[in-house]
Amino acid sequence: MTTETQDTATENTAKEDTVLSIAGLRKYFPVRNAWKRRIGWLKAVDDISLEVRRGEVLGIVGESGCGKSTLGKTLMGIHPPSGGQIVFEGNDITNMKPGASRGLRSSLQYSYQDPGASLDPRWKIGRSLHEPLEIHTQLSREERDKRVRSILKSVGLPEGHLDHYPHEISGGQQRRVGLARILTLHPSVIILDEPTSGLDVSVQATILNLFSDLRQEFNLTYLFISHDLSVVRMICDRIAVMYLGKIVEIGDTETVFSNPRHPYTQSLLAAVPIIGGRRVTDNFWLQGEPPNPGDLPSGCRFRTRCPNVRPECADKEPELRSDWEGQEVACPYAE
């Protein structure tokens, strides 16, 4: 792909290896009372800035409800952003509707966390897989058929499944069909929302290998949202750790895993179960309940659960500090 033709490009595209650039992105949902009156905002994504490099796998991790899916859906145009800018392949797509500019949108894809969501229950699997190709490509029926069969094989499903309805296949099989549906379009950036959850290790291995083959073949870029930290560690080049709508730490995967500096990242990594090791449930506890995202603490959002909290933490929201090689941390006391 070339970026030369984009004369209207914004500053962000100056770096040609940046495929997706996000600046100050916000998504706020209204919080309503019992009479449907708005009484505040839930800041699901709050001032996130990121540069995604071409060909990289960027992991996004963080507690349930911290805004990972909302970030993915906002990038994809499923939710209109409340603020900020999204530049994809040099084009500002911030307020573009998913229907607009099909070519561009087909090269940015989001795979739903919910395996059933992308499949129409009334359609056989075969039809669900043909449909995106009919909409987005000029392929003939035979070519489409060929592509559908080959992608089905790559996700480890027998051809017989083309004639099944979604309710006739298992949860893990539905998830693979959902992934197949997206992969047929050969997008350049894929936002994968929990792509391996509900898959057993052996299918997971097949799928992860498929991701890395496709990445090599088509120079794909992945945003990999997952809570499975062992998978994240294995396949991501960089990871971003989110806490209540903000990125608290971002950096090279190995650096972050071997030397997490934000107190939240530290407690997150301590909770990974290890077969044969200590049982996490016996001795692990991240102190305190997560705060209500509709009513955040002042200053640092993590301070109510932070083991190293100081009085000053309530005053000012910490910024990401880039004081280390390959690692940025939003805590003034991290070392």
Binding site: Q113, H227, A271, P273, I275, G276, P290
Partner: protein, 349 residues
């Protein structure tokens, strides 16, 4: 001798599909005792959800058929029970279910609070309490208001126990307005509310991050220990299995292969399939590798032991005859003619 709360024996279940009859469960034996946590593990499509649904009596009526077997709960065969009795006393009361797909389990047009209170109206343990039945309280839509208030208090308390912040606010939301993991925790809370004797948890923590998962697993374990609740826990995640299960049953293509106490399962797996499954765990040293070969189509499954086409130890006999149980040690048995000799396999490195 530990007495069984649930005993499944010789269960066969098939589905009619356009492509033919899929023989999904094949002569499955399975037991669970009071207060015990049993993990049911196996690759995608091996029949975990089908077994869970058979126990609950919620197989799709027009396509599923139970070809043989019994499902005994507290000594009574559930498969013979009239459906009214099942839905009134067993399903959702004595046995509750945490479905694999929390997304499709809520009705999109009602708030979460409305749906949970509707569940409580019918399934709350307080429903049998004569105090509420006879109390001269006002009735609202058949739901005595004193019981409503008491149930609501219990709901809020439980939502806090599953780590949901601001339970009141969550109850006012619609299903699409909460995150994947929040929805999953709501389903878990709903399975706990009727105070069941057994919970069937079908991959209950797939959408949860490790910290919340650790708390939920802890909660399930505490319930099992303190209130003697049995938990059937289906999962593909062996790390979770290790964390929480007393015993593990591994299933392949609709046949259960091996049942062992958790430590035996991970340290001395006896079925070649169990061994291969453990070795396919992703690790940084070995990267990711699957088991060579494909999972069979269940419309024309291999005869005998269904794993034989992919098994390195398979012999002629394996393709014609399904092995019976062989006892390895107390509570550890395997259905294999050529079990793995022990002391060689380390579960995790």
């Amino acid at each position: 001798m530990i007495s069984n709360l649930l005993r499944v024996h010789d269960l066969r279940v098939s589905f009619a599909t356009e492509a033919g009859i899929a023989h999904v469960l094949d002569r499955v034996d399975f037991t669970i005792a009071k207060g015990e946590i049993v993990g049911l593990v196996g690759e995608s499509g091996c029949g975990k959800t089908t077994l869970a649904r058979t126990i609950l009596g919620v197989l799709p009526e027009n396509s599923a058929r139970i070809d043989s077997g019994v499902v005994e709960f507290e000594g009574e065969n559930l498969l013979d029970k009239p459906s009214e009795e099942l839905s009134d006393k067993i399903r959702g009361r004595a046995i509750t279910f945490i479905p694999q797909d929390p997304f499709s389990s809520f009705n999109p047009v009602f708030t979460i609070g409305t749906q949970i209170m509707e569940l409580m109206k019918w399934k709350s343990p307080a429903r049998d309490d004569p105090y509420y039945a006879n109390s001269a309280s006002r009735f609202w839509n058949g739901y005595p208001s004193t019981r409503y208030e008491a149930d609501k208090g219990r709901v809020l308390e439980l939502l806090r126990e599953v780590q949901l912040p601001e339970p009141e606010a969550i109850l006012a939301k619609y299903p699409h307005e909460v995150s994947g993991g929040q929805r999953q925790r709501l389903m878990i809370a709903m399975a706990l509310l009727p105070e069941p004797k057994m919970i069937i948890a079908d991959e209950p923590t797939t959408a949860l991050d490790v910290t919340i998962q650790a708390q939920i697993l802890h909660l399930l374990r505490t319930l099992a220990r303190e209130r003697d609740v049995a938990v059937l826990f289906t999962t593909h995640d062996l790390g979770t299995t290790y964390e929480i299960c007393d015993r593990v049953t591994v299933m392949y293509a609709g046949q259960e292969m091996e049942t062992a106490p958790s430590d035996g399962f991970f340290n001395t797996p006896s079925h070649p399939y169990t061994r291969d499954l453990l070795q396919s765990l992703p690790s940084r040293e070995h990267g990711i590798k699957g088991i060579p070969g494909d999972i069979p189509a269940l419309i024309s499954p291999p005869g005998g032991c269904r794993f034989h086409p992919r098994c390195t130890a398979a012999s002629e006999r394996c393709s014609v005859e399904r092995p019976d149980h062989t006892q390895i040690s107390e509570r550890h048995n395997v259905r294999c003619f050529h079990p793995v000799a022990h002391k060689s396999v380390g579960a995790a490195s």
